[in-house]
Amino acid sequence: MEIASSPHVASGASVDDIMRNVVYALLPVVVFAVFAFGLSALLVLTTAVLACVGTEYVLNRVAGAPDTLGDWSVVITGLLYGLTLPPGLALWMVAVGGIFGVGVGKFLFGGLGSNAFNPALVGRAFLQAAFPSAMTTWSPAFLADRFAHISSSTLAFPFARPEYDAISAATPLSAMKFRDTGTDPMELMLGLTSGSVGETCAVLILVGGIYLVARNMMNWRITVSILATVATMTLIANTLAPGEYPQPMFMLLSGGLMLGAVFMATDPVASPITDTGCWVYGLLIGGLIVVIRFWGGMAEGVMYAILLANAVSPHIDNLVQPRVYGSRA
């Protein structure tokens, strides 16, 4: 008889199984991103993945650790990271953020399973602080020559300031915040607006999310909790002061909220483990997003909301830990 330690029943889904399915779920988003923003987006995404994968490979070699590229997690990090960047971002900046995200956000914490923060967002947050103007310059979507011409800002020489040749566009969120102009929810749904490479088309992101939930590979509680919190808070604000605050539909579909709620906040390592914890975690992220978007200095706050919630997720788990049967307090 063979004696083994628990768990005795395995679901059959291993880490690389789940991660490969996440890549499948992201594929429509990636294809649409390249279709909307052209060659520049393709280059940004390729550079992001190569920088992340390369960093993990080199650091594993230097540390003498086993090679971990086979679990696909770093490919996802690279893809997600690339999807959050502005389409015209200089490729050398993309590489810097990718190296920082995987090196500092993942490797220094101990690799997959030990990272306190989502590495893709760590890389993006570093870029946001290092190059604030490049990270808020958005090239318009569906330019006529997007498949023939690569924006000169994308190809900026390393350490040189990128020169933008297209007139930069406002994202729906910055238009709302700084110019008081709304955007048609249908356009947001279909991704006809400007924004980060992969955040514009809400429908495709939702399709990817539903695919993962159907395969039982994603924690839907976090996503539902975030979306419900944002919708409720916006509805209340909008009812009290309709002129000042946007419609819930606009808030849900604009900016990085969908991408963040479906693919970023659900990072299995940096989010809580308990079911109640997931609801609380989503509530916190949703609340922070609304607060930052409405009353903060920036137009978008999904990234910081998720990173802050990442930081407290172990504490959330501790707080909602059910009482052990028979124990006091």
């Binding site: 200089a90 900046m93 570093f126 602080a129 290092a130 190059f131 604030p132 490049a134 900026a156 020489f157 350490f159 040189a160 300031r161 990128p162």
Partner: protein
Amino acid sequence: MAQPTTNQFIKGLWQQNPIFVQALGLCPALAVSNSAINALTMGLATSFVLLSSGVIISSIRSLIPREARIVSYICIIASLVTTVDYVIKAISLDLHKSLGAFISLIVVNCLILGRAEAFASRNTVGKTVLDSAGMGAGFTIALLCIGVIREVLGAGTLFGIGLFPDTFQTWTIMLLPSGGFFVLAFWLLAIGLWNDARERSAKTAEETA
């Protein structure tokens, strides 16, 4: 084991470097290391206070009652810091403004009080001079190491002189407080790796011998 006297000086530069090894006085090291000139001024001002307070305290160490030693040290250090404050103001008002409150805060820099308590109060003037000079030099060098990286990346200049063509993209984060933490962490990592490698090679040398 008898140590050569020069070791009293060298140890502050490397084995017991105030910033990189003892992690003392990190507040000014992070706050005013956003440019090389700020880092250098802060380092020199701290070194001056460290050296003169060390000399004074060690020469009158038998006169200071044990019970009132901390308050006596603070009085001596505070008088010296006031002097430094006026001197910097006389040399450059701009520099004084950019260092702000951190000059007065040298009084409570734990490095200075720490050396007074741990070294100057129980050693001869000669030894204290070597120790304080070493610690001061180590502190200044560490601040410069951080300040140079932050200024070159954050502003594209070194001591205010432009290094790159106009197209250089500045890294705003390096001028922000978080940049200070990242650069300090980078240095600690680099020094840690270097020490590890040296220990490992010393061990292999021992084993083969």
